[in-house]
Every structure is written in structure tokens, then in C-alpha cells.
Symmetry: C2
Subunit: 396 residues, 2 copies
């Protein structure tokens, strides 16, 4: 992952502004606004966590009330505004009203987002002040600053962009996220916008499968945020012919994949990643259960951290997933080399070979169950002492 500044350029119809509101560390930008010149078609995927935050509740309501046509998305980092009761919801609504006043639109055309420490209240006056400042500062080239403003434990800003093959539209995306990431749920925060024309319904049809195979197939720690959201907007300033209708969906998927990869690579304390691909356990769902058991197992993740090919831990994780299997039918390959088959370690798969296959940045683990049906893959980080340190000291 390059550490160089993000090069994102602009999307016609979108201005981006930041402000230092005092929610995260003093002095740094911790607030961002996406301001749309016109009501802009929007689609969203939100967290499935039952303790969803106040801004998630308000964003869902506003997306519905505005018929998927947004004038602004506003985001603060530092505090999640979750577990903050009626006061927290009032704060989220007040910030939408402040944005609406600044932009000359209705409050329900503004969608709020927060990320940071859960169960701490946000000062409503501060949030409204930051909203006004960000609106005043908004400009077309503001994407990289916003990518930095929404960071929490991220060590670097994350962005991706693409231009359609025909040059008719552009697409930009930024994301934050480094921990509390699990394949079964949405993701951390991501904001994507294109100048292509599309309806809210068309965007939703593109976004859901793109999220399913990108943000939903990465795991850092198996935990799921209370504040996750992925937003996709289309200003319609560019054009899209019938001939390249599919290319917008491809571009959305490509940007989601790049952002998901950046989140994984910046996983808290991450020193090594793995991609686990599971097939032939009777159904996609069975394969998913096994892939997630592997991806979330602390013993597999510490093995990955140490670069120690203690392959029996993969058997343990496969076996604990609750999927009925025939031990003799299961195969495990590491880096494309068959390591386990016929119920036992492959005789010519040496310890030395195993160590070499683990001494890479991204370890490929392929697991088959002997059946014809079912496929699932996901990517995950190792578990390091640094992860423990980061999360023990998160608030200090």
C-alpha cells in the first residue's frame, strides 16, 4: 500500500469540505462534508448491529424521506454518537439542520455519519459549528482531506478512483476502517460518488453485490461496528450510454474492492494477511461458515502472525464451524501446494516448504470438502501483540 498522498481529483457536482471540531485529537480535521450541487441519487448499505448509532438511525430515515436524493453527507470522527439516547439522536438531527441551513436544502436531504468511541456524547453546538465551517470550506478537490478527517485508528487515508473506459464518467471513493471489521456485516465508513447518471434504485442494485464481495469478505477481528455505512452517489453530470451501462457497475465494484483491500492492509496491528477460499462443502453458506471460522480463529490468526505453519489449527477451525464433513474428503492447500489430503498431512509437503509458503505478505489458503456445491472466499489479517496494544489504549 502506497503511503503517497491520495490523488483523487474531482467529481463534477460534488464539493468536499473539512473542519476541526474537537471531537478527535485537538487541532486535526475530524469533520467532513460532501455537498452536492443538486439533489443527488444515493444508495446505502448500513451496519446490521442492533446497537446501531443515532446517525445511522437518522441517515436511514432521511434517505427514505428524501426518496434517495441527497444534498449532503456529513461525517465526524472521534466519537460514534452511539449509546447516547435521545440526546444523541437530537444532536444528529441538529447537525443535519445546520447543514441544510448552510446549503439551502431540507434537513432530510442531509445524511449524518459518525465514527469513534461508542457511548460518549457529542457536543451539539460544536457539531453544528463544524458543519457550517465545512460547508464554507467545501471545494471540488477536497477528497483527500476528507479521507484524512474521517480516520480513527487508521494509519493512512484510503481512497480509490476510476475513469470509465470510454471516458464518459469518473468515480471517486474514500473509506476509513482498521478494526471492528467482520465479513458477515456491512463495513466501516465508505463514501463513493460518480458523475454518471443513475437512479437511487439502480445505484442500490450495483452497491449491494459490490459490498457483498468486497467489504463483506474482509475480517480484521470479527467484531462489527455500530456505525458502519457505505454510501454511493451519482450526480449525473457525466454521461453513460447503453453500450457502457455495465461499466458503471464494474467501476463501483472496482472502487469498493480497492477500498476494502486498503482497509485490510491497514488492519489494526496487521503484519500479514491471508485469503481463504473454501469450496465443495455442499452449499455457499456452509463454505462461508468454514471460511469465517478460519478467518476469525485467534489460533489461526496468531499462527499467521508468527509465520508458523501450524496447519493443525486449520483443521481445528474447519471442524468447529458446525458443518458436517468427511475428514478424508477435505483438502488444504497453502500457496497452491497440497498440504493435507486423505485425512492426513501430504507426505512430501515439508516443514521447510510450509515455512516458505507462510513467509509472504498474503498467504493463500484453499480448502475443499470433496463435494460439487458451494464456494466462498474472504480475506483476513493476523492477530499481533500490536493489535492488543492499540485496542487497550484506544481511548488514551
Amino acid at each position: 500500500m502506497s503511503q503517497s498522498p491520495l490523488q483523487l481529483g474531482s467529481i463534477t457536482g460534488v464539493r468536499v469540505g473539512c473542519a476541526a471540531g474537537g471531537f478527535a485529537a485537538a487541532g486535526r480535521d475530524d469533520f467532513a462534508m460532501f455537498a452536492f450541487a443538486n439533489p443527488t441519487a444515493s444508495a446505502a448499505v448500513f451496519t446490521t448491529n442492533q446497537f446501531c448509532a443515532a446517525p445511522v438511525i437518522v441517515a436511514k430515515e432521511h434517505l427514505h424521506k428524501s426518496a434517495g436524493l441527497s444534498r449532503a453527507w456529513i461525517i465526524n470522527s472521534g466519537k460514534a454518537n452511539c449509546g447516547t439516547g435521545a440526546a444523541g439522536e437530537a444532536t444528529a438531527r441538529a447537525s443535519c439542520a445546520a447543514a441544510a441551513a448552510a446549503l439551502g436544502c431540507k434537513p432530510e436531504q442531509v445524511l449524518p455519519f459518525s465514527t469513534g468511541v461508542v457511548m460518549e456524547t457529542i457536543d451539539s453546538a460544536k457539531l453544528c459549528r463544524a458543519t457550517k465551517q465545512a460547508a464554507a470550506a467545501a471545494q471540488p478537490e477536497g477528497w483527500p482531506d476528507a479521507a484524512a478527517a474521517i480516520m480513527t485508528t487508521d494509519t493512512r487515508p484510503k481512497g480509490a478512483c476510476a475513469t470509465s473506459p470510454c471516458g464518459r464518467f469518473k468515480i471517486n471513493g474514500i473509506a476509513k476502517g482498521a478494526g471492528m471489521i467482520h465479513p458477515r456485516m456491512a463495513t466501516m465508513l465508505a463514501f463513493i460518488a460518480t458523475d454518471a447518471p443513475a437512479s437511487p434504485g439502480q445505484l442500490a442494485e450495483m452497491l449491494q453485490p459490490a459490498v457483498a464481495t468486497t467489504f463483506n469478505q474482509i475480517s480484521v477481528d470479527g467484531d462489527t461496528s455500530t456505525n458502519d455505512a457505505v454510501m454511493l452517489g451519482a450526480t449525473g453530470a457525466g454521461s453513460l450510454t447503453d453500450a457502457d451501462a455495465g461499466s458503471l457497475a464494474d467501476a463501483v465494484h472496482g472502487v469498493c474492492a480497492a477500498l476494502a483491500g486498503a482497509i485490510l492492509a491497514d488492519g489494526e496491528g496487521c503484519t500479514r494477511t491471508a485469503a481463504v477460499s473454501v469450496a465443495g462443502f455442499g452449499s455457499d453458506d456452509n463454505c462461508r461458515l468454514i471460511a469465517e471460522a478460519v478467518a476469525c480463529s485467534p489460533l489461526v490468526k496468531t499462527m499467521l502472525n508468527a509465520g508458523d505453519p501450524n496447519l493443525g489449527r486449520l483443521l481445528m477451525a474447519i471442524g468447529k464451524a458446525g458443518v458436517t464433513l468427511q475428514q478424508e474428503a477435505v483438502t488444504i492447500s497453502i500457496g497452491g501446494q497440497l498440504a493435507f489430503a486423505n485425512g492426513q498431512r501430504v507426505a512430501d509437503f515439508s516443514e521447510q516448504q510450509a515455512r516458505e509458503l507462510f513467509a509472504v505478505e498474503n498467504v493463500a489458503i484453499d480448502i475443499t470438502g470433496g463435494g460439487d456445491e458451494g464456494n466462498y472466499c474472504c480475506r483476513f489479517t493476523d492477530l499481533s501483540a500490536e493489535y492488543v496494544r492499540i485496542n487497550g489504549q484506544y481511548r488514551s
Copy 2:
């Protein structure tokens, strides 16, 4: 947990012997045998892991074939004999035959157990030699040596004993286990024997509920071993009147509880434990899902490690369990002090108070959902940098 040598005494009808077989570190005892003077009523709870080890397969078969009447239980540490194919199963069977020859019984009256590194083969000749040596060394007072011989990453041997109130029977138990422990499954290895009279069926009826509320309600890392087993035997050398029939079940539960507590306290890298009690989410099963989401969350466990009362992580874990809830109806108490209610932090629950309630060896976390139905509790360890170190270097 006391570091003093275990004081277990003897159980009439049981001899215990150890041997150094060269499966774990050179020179140390890594094999133990429980030899019963007569066919002894036995009951078992085994792992639910689909990749169960060869000895688990053989032990289940032998328990059935012998109608629950054992002459010996044999255990090696160092290697788990799991993922070892037909050769591994043959090795487990050969060790039973060796024990049967040494004790003058049938092979199906011998139950084998292994614990250690998965997917490494055990030398069958070495295992048979250790079996014979342990049979020759067996003596009534051998329980503490066996508790040491079955250890893997345990830092101390674990044992518990009890005498019935009336003095009519005794009960002894030993266990090993420090990681790969999860409430949804069996446990690590535990071997319990009493001189009370009981049938295999009566023992099974006592053992299952005892395991459910002890070994099955502790979690170190959410992983589940391929080799877990809890054994309970009754030699019948003592006596049991109708008046104290219930006291045997109580004693079994008490020994299981003491051993489960010892396993938790010796959890890999453990510096602090917590007990989470969940009630009022509509059903016991819903409460279990929430308790396990809390107990297995890396973010909750790192918070516990740091002694940092970042209580929002409890909301996150409660919300990700997949149980529908009303945020306003949920309460969280720490150390008996109400910390969260009505959808927000309780105003007079101060940060200082929270820090003090976390600065204890065992943190009590009580969660209620506002309903009348449902109860579940479990205990779990923190996640430390030391856990990562232990499990990265387990084989070296």
C-alpha cells in the same frame, strides 16, 4: 489459584501411572494411565469438533463396545493424533491393545486420549512402550503426577477433590487446558473418578448438566479443540445411601466447577477474567448468543486486558449477536453498579468509578434486555500480548 502441589489422595479401585514417552519436551512425563481394578462404570462428554482426533473416534467406539465399563483411560500430551489418517487411528488402537495386554483386559475396555499439536503423527512403538511403563508404575497416589503429565501450555497442574458430607464416598478430578476453550463445546481434557457406586447411565445423567454449567461456560479464545473430553468413572468401592444420592451429583458438579475455574484462571496469557450474566432477552438461547458475543469479542477482551472501561464495546458486542433488542430497554451493570440504561450512559456512573470496577481480578458484567424470559452466564479471559506470543511460538 494456589501454586502449591496438588493434594488429591487416592480413590479406592483406581491406580494412576505416568511415563516419559518423548511426545512433548524430552525428559518430562507426557503419558498418564488410569488403571481400574475392576470394570468401572464410565461416562463421557466429547468435543463436537468435526475434525475430532483419532483417539476420540476410538474412545467413543470403545465406550460403546464395553457398555460403559472401563479398565483403563490412557492419555498422552505433546501430540494430538488428529489429522493423522488411518495410521493415526491404528496408533490409537495399538496403544489400547498394549494397555489391555499389560492389565489383562480387552482392548475395548481401554479409552485413549491425546492432546498437543494437531496433524503430527505419534510413533506407535513409543506410545505402546509408554503405555507399558505407565501400567507398571501405576499406584493409588499418582493423581498429581498425572495432572502434570497431561499439561500442554498449562502453567500449573489442575486438580480438585471432595468427600461426601456423610464421608461415604470420595471424588478426585484432574484437568488440563489453557487455550482453545469455548463455551459452545465440550472442554479440554478432564478425568474424574469416585469410589461411589453408580451405573454408566447414572453417571451420564450427572455429567452432562455438570459440564453444561461449568466447562461449557468458560471461554479463553473461542476456539474448540479437536480432542476435548471429560471422563467420569465410579469404582463402587465406597457406598451411597438413598439419603445422599443427590450428593454425588453435587460433588461431580463441584469438582467440574473447580476444574473449570482452574482452567480459566490459567487461560493463555490471562491477566484478568470477567463473568458476564445476561437475562431478559426472550430466551436462554438469545441470552447465550449475547453472552458469547461479549465473551469472544477481541475488542471487549483487549479492553479487559487494559483495564480500560471502554463500555461502548459492550454495546457493540451485544448488538452484533443477531438478537433483536430495544436499545432503551437494555441495561449494563459493572461490579453491580448500573452503567448504562435508557439508551445511554448513566449520568452518575463516573469514569473514575468505572476504572475502579475494572481494576479487579474478575470483573462482573450484568446485562439485561427488559424481558422476563431468558438467562445465561459465562466466564472469560482477557486477550493479552502474551496470548499472541504463546500461540505464535507454540510449536517451538
